[in-house]
Amino acid sequence: MFRYIVRRLLQMVLTFFGATFVVFALTFANQDDPLQALAGERPITESQRIALTERYHLNESFLTQYWYYMKGLLTGDLGTSLTGQKISAMLANAWPVTLKLALLAIVIAATIAVTAGVYSAIRRGGLFDNVTLVATLVVLAMPIVVLAPLAQLIFGIKLGWFPPTATRDASLYDLLLPALVLGSLVIATELRVTRTSVVENLRADYVRTARAKGLTRRRVIWVHVLRNSLIPVVTLIGVDLGGLMSGAIVTEKIFNIPGVGFNIARAITTEDGPLVVGFVSVLVVIFLIVNLLVDLLYAALDPRIRYE
């Protein structure tokens, strides 16, 4: 186990530098004239240009700039955006609402997916199973750019059940509709994995033993089978997080939630390179750490799995 953790950590260091380098390289090469973008329509004088170039290290070589960037990222200093605000402060402002939204989405998705997954596995081939199979296909195929505006239109505007937009201090109820939309991104895969692994586990020997001991069917399924079936579902959380981050950009843009995704979407349109790189790098780091934790959790949850 110790060797596995060390190897996994080393892998993560490599992935971390690789991923941040790719993101940095792409954004760096993207800027045609960030100073003009900063100044907007106003002209920039030569001395301003020199001072700004100096301040943002724009005349340094590519690798030196990457070095400055990594140094900042590792010391928690994400630099300033082209609008002059501290990126770390903007992030501190934006993350609470995004975290709330993402957690709500995960909880909703997991609850529905596990319950429905178990029911369709018990009655495999039945009406409920067939309906959920088709429903998951449809949900899988619904791009978030379709789902989010339509949900806002139907439930927010036409029916008026939920507020169509949310603020920074949104209550859980305000975030319910966006969270449902976001959760739908991961619900289908979670449901299918739960169903498949419950179906597999129902045939296992320990189920027969438990039944032979005289345990009720309910206890066998919801305690014995479910516990063993949730292991593959847990690993999905890591992968799902990437999808949630992507989904949050569209969802927050449509529902006007001033979170991390909303800031990224806005920074792209204003060509604010440092802001995009800062936010994206932090998200990449979070994504990598969560995936590492999930991998370790996986090994801890299932002692049958041995890593060499």
Binding site: A19, N130, V138, A141, V145, V146, M245, V250, L283
Partner: protein, 310 residues
């Protein structure tokens, strides 16, 4: 899922009329042959095939469906409802929503197919090399895949697409490259594991014994036997790439200028959803149906090739 008896009852006599049964008895059926017999009975397969054919027809020959010009817009028609001449009404700019939706299929299909092919080629090269050579090459290539997977897809796509798009282009090339360069990882992984499981088979050893080099072994012996799951992944990827194109166009880093795209239509219509719902709803339905068709197709093919998964 579907009721096989109902369909077999209709289809069963047909093969017996042709030369097929005779051939079947002398020759064992191949995996693909088995899968095809399975697929023919699957209703979902036929539904998705019909949808895909209609969408492809729309992409190739849009004037078959509408005689209106999607770019001929009259502001006087702004947000007018559906009528006999414009089935889906008019949008904010007074453009015919039906015509725009029909013409939007072309860009979606072009970007979807080209980016999936690119992802397939990259994924195939990575997967074949990593799986076949193993050891050191596998370690390096797999770390490369890990790095790509370390970047959440849309974040990478936003940055890359923004980088690739040029001032006056419609962005088709940029989005195609972006999607191709970022989505090959799943194809590469599937290919790698398929190659690893088939490279130790006897027929590969026999080929090597007869003096075949790595290139010939990979392309003529291992590839054909590893291709099934790879194609399934690509079919599903085609669906998700079409959705990603719309997402990027929606955010303003995909197709641009006067390109017609469902993503742009949705993005333009959503602020006016209170006033006119049709310009928002119809492109959404077409987009969802297209993505659904390809995902269902991939799902059905996978079920046919791998009955264990059912």
């Amino acid at each position: 899922m579907s009721d096989p008896n109902a369909v077999t009852a209709v289809e069963a006599p047909a093969p017996q009329a042709g030369p097929r049964p005779g051939r079947k008895s002398d020759k064992p059926r191949s995996l693909a042959g088995d899968a095809w017999i399975d697929l023919r009975r699957n209703k979902i397969f036929w539904v998705s095939v019909v949808l895909v054919v209609v969408i492809l027809l729309m992409a190739i020959w849009p004037s078959l469906f509408t005689s209106a010009d999607p770019r001929a817009c009259t502001l006087a028609n702004q947000h007018k409802g559906a009528s006999g001449s414009a089935y889906f009404g008019y949008d904010f700019q007074g453009c015919d929503v039906f015509a725009k939706t029909v013409y939007g299929a072309r860009n979606s299909i072009i970007v979807g197919i080209m980016s999936t092919l690119l992802a397939g080629v990259i994924g195939m090269i990575f997967g074949l090399c990593a799986g076949y050579f193993g050891g050191w090459a596998d370690a390096v290539l797999s770390r490369g895949i890990d790095i790509m997977l370390g970047i959440p897809f849309l974040l990478g796509a936003i940055v890359l697409s923004n980088r690739l798009v040029t001032e006056n282009s419609d962005g088709v090339l940029a989005v195609t490259l972006t999607l191709g360069l970022l989505t090959w990882t799943s194809a590469a992984r599937v290919m790698r594991s398929a190659v690893i499981s088939s490279k130790n088979q006897d027929y590969v050893a026999a080929g090597r014994m007869l003096g075949a080099g790595p290139g010939r072994l990979m392309l003529r012996h291992i590839l054909p036997n590893s291709i099934a799951s790879f194609i399934v992944v690509l079919t599903i990827l085609l669906g998700t790439n079409i959705a990603s194109e719309a997402t990027l166009s929606f955010l303003g880093v995909g197709l641009k200028n006067d390109a017609i795209s469902w993503g742009i239509s949705i993005s333009e219509a959503s602020p006016y959803a209170r006033v006119a719902t049709e310009p928002l709803v119809w492109p959404s339905i077409f987009l969802a149906a297209t993505v659904l068709a390809f995902i269902m197709l991939g799902d059905a093919i996978r079920d046919a090739f791998d009955p264990k998964l059912r």
